[in-house]
Amino acid sequence: MIDILPGIQTTASALQAERIRADVISQNLANALTTRGADGKLYQRQQVRFESLLVNDPQGGNPVREVQVTIIPDERPARWAPDPANPGRMIEIPDINVHEEMVDLIVSQRTYEANLAAAKAARSMAIQTLSIGKRS
């Protein structure tokens, strides 16, 4: 295959990674007050771990480092909160801080934007290189 856009493979993996991160953050936000999941247990906050993955070009080009995402549970203990249905009693709720999740979401969004900028730069580099050959 012609490698026409520089670094596009890495950028694509980074965009995918940020999508997964945004998914996980949305999931945490949505389940911030979930006391019981489908398995009958309390919802456990999830987080992502980014790892760099070396991918070799089958045609012997430069090896590129892509991003690989793993979703891992956050082991922080549950919080105790007053049970709205039974005054005076306490129930366990997940220890999810909405503000923290929102900050993570902003970081994820900005990182996505940065990677989009890299993709745009790659495209405009290719187009500008092609314009060398133009006469007028």
């Binding site: 295959m1 012609i2 995918q16 050959g133």
Partner: protein, 128 residues
């Protein structure tokens, strides 16, 4: 040596060198050592028919390969877009990146073709 690959060294070249470059490109395309009207005709057929089957020569093979690669990229982009729109779980960015890649590859192919035609027309205008 082909007419396109010499492009980078055009800057700071005198006319005699340019002519030499041109004739080298011509020899390469026609596959001979001297330029004869017959070979000029052969060159014309190579340029006109592009990557048509039956035409031998490294450059026409290369051109055919580029066309095939561009076609593969277009097919890839089409499949990604179809996968996205039919809800098969293709992410949005992948479809967009695939179609951008196909578009840039297509522009590259068009530029190569333009350059080739330009070189051919330059040759045809040459006073013998």
């Amino acid at each position: 040596m082909n007419p396109i690959s010499g492009l980078g060294s055009f800057a700071g070249m005198n006319p005699a060198q340019m002519m030499e470059l041109r004739s080298m490109g011509l020899q390469d395309l026609a596959g001979g050592s001297a330029i004869s009207p017959k070979q000029l005709e052969a060159l014309t057929s190579v340029v006109d028919s592009g990557a048509a089957p039956g035409v031998t020569g490294d450059f026409s093979n290369l051109l055919g390969q580029i066309v095939r690669e561009v076609q593969a990229k277009q097919a890839n982009a089409g499949a990604a877009t179809a996968g996205l729109l039919s809800g098969q779980g293709v992410p949005l960015h992948q479809a967009v990146l695939a179609s951008e890649e196909a578009s840039v590859a297509f522009q590259l192919m068009v530029e190569v073709r333009n350059k080739l035609l330009e070189a051919y027309q330059e040759l045809m205008r040459m006073q013998v």
